[in-house]
Symmetry: C2
Subunit: 302 residues, 2 copies
Amino acid sequence: MKLTILGCHSATPRANAHPTSQVLDINGEFMLIDCGEGTQVRLRKHKVKFSRISHIFISHLHGDHYFGLIGLLSTFSLLSRTTELHIYAPQGLEEIIKLQLKLSHAFTSYPLIFHQLDSSHPELILDNDKLTVETIPLKHRVYTNGFLFKAKPGDRKLLIDKVQNLDIDKVYYKSIVKGKDVTTKSGELIKNEELTEDPKPAPSYAFCSDTIFKPDIVPQIKGVTLLYHESTFLEDQENLCDKTKHSTAKQAGIIAQKAGVQKLILGHFSARYKNLSLFEEEAKIVFDNVENAETGKIFRYE
Amino acid sequence: MKLTILGCHSATPRANAHPTSQVLDINGEFMLIDCGEGTQVRLRKHKVKFSRISHIFISHLHGDHYFGLIGLLSTFSLLSRTTELHIYAPQGLEEIIKLQLKLSHAFTSYPLIFHQLDSSHPELILDNDKLTVETIPLKHRVYTNGFLFKAKPGDRKLLIDKVQNLDIDKVYYKSIVKGKDVTTKSGELIKNEELTEDPKPAPSYAFCSDTIFKPDIVPQIKGVTLLYHESTFLEDQENLCDKTKHSTAKQAGIIAQKAGVQKLILGHFSARYKNLSLFEEEAKIVFDNVENAETGKIFRYE
């Protein structure tokens, strides 16, 4: 699992502070999460192949999370994309995109499939052979979801001494790691659990932006490998959280601590703060393994 | 008059090839012409004060000419703008912008006034004390206008020897340069033309993007100070012009030569060309004073 931060600042784009967007690579499946203005330029800059992106997840319809989408979709057409593209987004995005396409007398060169999100409960929205994706209901000024990505476990681990001792032909190894039992040359049936052990735990990623402090998400994101949680403000501006429906770095730390995640990434920093290391410091008071998002930063998990 | 190029490349944004956008400063009135994705970041980079922009002109509804607009309008609100903003654009843009504002539960902090363009003939769309703006009907795959900006002439030039010889009180100078006649101390009426001469010719700017070769615009743009004309292709790809409704550098040169403009600026270069100096060279065959647009380049005329 590899997470590339394309932008991690709030609202106003500035020369070096790009709005929210990330690419998550799980088992070779590329997913774009949010798509602020300029995302396509950042994708190019960080050498993410456009053609690898198969799914796009939009958390909510504030501009700093989706204004770059129509440009990216148009570029896909200019590049003659033909493979399906799935977009998971709140109600309204499909209408905007289709209106923009209509007014430019354009159509996409590829099937564009919208999946409208409108539930206030967690939903399983994608389940394929590589991963599952669930929504994480958040609370912001407009309808908002986070997303929980769980890689599917890889193949079972072959106990090579065992299979060699039983003189099992190599041709069966492929089916054994998939969990199949096998019959030896002498006709004895050997159960899979004698020949393999569990694969490594598969990594998972919870993306939570934008939201007020919402501890009721903790059970859903329990023990994830990586949690991105917005921290628009520091504690000194906690009074703004209520009005703007955002969180502080400390609140993000509390969520990480309660959920027992492996690592917390902070982002969506308000433009009012110049020294971003204060965010890490504040969250560290409650949760140790924390790191700020930065444009271009990559987080890898095997 | 000062023209700043914010982007001058066609369609696909790349790391260093930004889509169409320009800022024209005429007598302190700032006008934004087209607004491709990322324009607001380029405005900041080139230190154009957001608050000075009072009018935005959108030539047509292809994304590389307007996908940056909603982001800029949203940022104006974040910056608590209160002054009126006028947008001149083809039918449909108002619907897109209002839908996007509605879905983010947002409104602008300032009066946003749309002027819908739908005529196939030149129209006077702005006339204030500093300048006039007319549409230039172009021909592209969708309804498209260029824009002709004409600065108003400055004050008449005072013939200082004449007014001193006639012993005219200095208090009248201000009205004389505005074109008023004056009565001398001895009661004699002196006509303005005896006291002043014409001001310097006021500069003008014709923006023509995107369009097929369209010589019928020549009478309208006759003798302009500065002509920006798209040149998406070189002559070697002229066959693509018909299909895509674009022009070659040579065709832009022919328009400049026929209209007897002072200077021609080329832009909207297709991504297929790496050596952009070929555009200047090709246009020079028919018109000598030609220069390529470049991101960040500034053209000044007194």
